[in-house]
């Protein structure tokens, strides 16, 4: 990954990616039906971009996110980070890859370990990857807490998740994701459990982190309005196919695919 040129290659490149699940193995090991969660997907995400992936439940948007952070492997197709194939990574290169991509999950009530203090949660990735000394890690954790808007960082250092509100927990999840200075973060519906007033603050935080640290995001959502607010480009995914990729503005103004049109039509609004 040494001689990577962001102008030549996209940061993330998915080519012909298919992911099949075998939901029912059958009672006596008979072959069940295969479910194609993703069907021959091509996707490029450029460095510094916030890329939105919009679709309804079951459309394959979460599967895409999980493949990109290598929580799962594709059935067919190739995924590249900075031009380098990640399909068959193992050992040291895989460990290095893990420090470069991170994920923010949907539900901050379930994604944080209740037994770990905020400090332990955020410093765990640093410990796992053997970065810094205990003192420098402490410094880094406090600094990261302040970056995500939990100020003063020292006040939150020894708290536990149950002492925090939903919005604060999600900020901790963001802090945990950015503490390793990753290149790429997958945010899977990070605001869907939050109230509107809190969600908008979190979206603003993600966009600030992108501007400040040049991180690249995949923002997975079912909310087209949130994608429009946050993302540079948006892909609409439907039944495992990407039906449209464009800037959010263009997608909303001139939707080409009938599914996109439908999605726009059902977005709630309250203008009278």
């Amino acid at each position: 990954m040494t001689n990577y040129d962001p102008d030549k290659h996209p940061l993330i490149e998915m080519k012909g990616v298919t992911k099949a699940y075998n939901p029912r193995k059958g009672f006596f090991g008979r072959k069940g039906n295969k479910v194609l969660a993703l069907n021959d997907i091509d996707l490029n995400i450029h460095k510094g971009e916030i890329f939105g992936l919009v679709g309804q439940s079951g459309s394959g948007k979460t599967t895409t996110g999980r493949l990109l952070v290598k929580l799962e492997d594709p059935t067919h197709g190739k995924i590249r980070l900075k031009g380098e194939l990640i399909n068959d990574l193992g050992g040291k290169p895989l460990q290095h890859f893990r420090s470069k991509v991170q994920m923010i999950f949907q539900d901050p009530y379930q994604s944080l370990n209740p037994h770990l203090s905020i400090a332990e949660t955020i410093s765990e990735p640093l410990v796992v990857h053997g970065i810094g000394s205990p003192e420098s890690r402490r410094e880094k954790v406090i600094q990261t807490l302040e970056t995500v808007g939990l100020r003063p960082g020292k006040a939150f250092y020894n708290h536990y998740p149950h002492q925090l509100s939903g919005g604060q927990r999600q900020r901790v999840a963001v802090a945990r994701a950015i503490v390793l200075d990753p290149e790429f973060i997958v945010a899977d519906e990070p605001t869907s459990m939050l109230d509107a007033t809190i969600a908008i603050q979190l979206l603003r935080l993600l966009s600030r982190i992108r501007d400040e640290f040049g991180m690249t995001f995949l923002f997975i959502t079912h909310n087209l309005a949130a994608a429009k607010y946050l993302c540079d480009r948006v892909a609409v995914i439907h039944e495992g196919h990407i039906v449209e990729v464009n800037t959010a503005e263009n997608i909303i103004r001139n939707p080409e695919h009938p599914y996109t049109k439908k999605l726009i039509k059902v977005q709630p609004g309250f203008r009278f």
Binding site: Q56, S165, A196, I198, A225, V266, Q267, P268, G269, F270
Partner: protein
């Protein structure tokens, strides 16, 4: 006369840090055929209101004051036995989590059958089957699917069964508590459409609870905006959404992302959640209010009328009467 009228209702939860007032002195009335919406963020007391109207408050909850008039009775005073004849029959609820509200080991038609039999034990088999068929038709579930188990249904279909169950005994009041929150936008749109159609067809009273202002706006004629256990603003849909007056309502509407309002987004600075341990009647929004001054800490807010139907709860009439910020 209103179908249901609530007067000065306060509800507290006993916790180890003392009494927490989840609902603080709220009053409203529900008219037939005019859906009433409660909107607010988590912890504002909207579900507690729904549970009170169903007599389903948990053991550590206590009704501190107020009355709920329905027909000739005060629901606050009902015993558990008396509740059993009201709940499900006169007042029914559409619950939030469709995934958990159905019993996984019973067929869906049997679950609806049970709901009818609970209140009409002497109904004939023929009439019962006819009624079940009618209900599933009403919520648009094909007849050949009614013997299925809940796991064979999609999320939207499960929610339809919950609606059918709520309608089983032709209740006069239906309480819908976040009925579409677990569903994605496309299914949400279908369920809302369904609810609208059923509501206008049966002309029941409907109380709709949601954190999503756009969903409430699409269903309800009258809106109550709640914050920290108080109703802070109430009015018709048009009044509240096109001319919000309370600082919290403005924040709530201003932070809502829709496809056409990006330029008008206000990023709120909500640091603290509402303090529910404050004495009754104090303004609970003061810690987050941008228009707040010292007087708000000591004064009790009062209702300030903007029109006969539109009013807001605030210490400062100047803020409320001014339509611009």
């Amino acid at each position: 006369m209103s179908l249901l009228s609530v007067d000065n209702l306060s509800i507290g939860y006993e916790t180890k840090n003392g009494m927490v007032k989840a609902v603080d002195g709220i009053s409203f009335s529900l008219e037939k055929g005019r859906p009433l919406g409660f909107v607010g963020e988590s912890g504002c007391g909207k579900t507690t209101i729904g549970m009170t109207l169903m007599g389903l408050l948990p053991d550590n909850a206590k009704i501190l004051s107020g009355s709920v008039r329905f027909q000739t009775q005060d629901l606050v005073r009902l015993t558990e036995d008396q509740w059993r004849s009201v709940r499900g029959k006169d007042i029914a609820m559409i619950f939030q989590a469709a995934m958990n509200a159905l019993n996984p080991v019973y067929r869906v038609d049997d679950q609806v059958r049970e709901a009818i039999l609970a209140h009409r034990p002497d109904i004939s088999d023929k009439e019962l089957n006819h009624r079940i068929r009618e209900l599933f038709e009403l919520v648009e579930i094909p007849y050949e699917r009614i013997h299925d188990y809940p796991h064979e249904y999609s999320g939207g279909m499960k929610q339809r069964v919950i609606i059918a169950m709520a309608l089983a005994c032709q209740p006069q009041v239906i309480i819908a508590d976040e009925p579409t929150t677990a569903l994605d936008v496309i299914v949400q749109d279908q369920i809302l459409e369904e609810l609208r159609a059923i509501q206008s067809k049966l002309n029941t009273g409907l109380i709709f609870i949601s954190h999503d202002i756009a969903v409430v706006a699409s269903i309800c004629e009258d809106i109550c905006v709640m914050y920290g256990g108080q109703i802070v603003e109430t009015g018709t849909r048009k009044e509240v959404f096109s001319s919000p007056r309370h600082p919290y309502t403005k924040t709530l509407l201003g932070s809502y992302l829709s496809l056409d309002n990006e330029e008008h987004i206000i990023i709120p600075d909500m640091r603290e959640s509402a303090d529910l341990t404050l004495a009754s009647g104090c303004c609970r929004f003061q810690a987050n209010c941008t228009a707040c001054d010292a007087a708000c800490k000591s004064d009790q807010p009062t209702w300030i009328d903007i029109s006969p139907t539109h009013k807001a709860l605030c210490c400062d009439a100047g803020i409320i009467r001014n339509p611009h910020d």
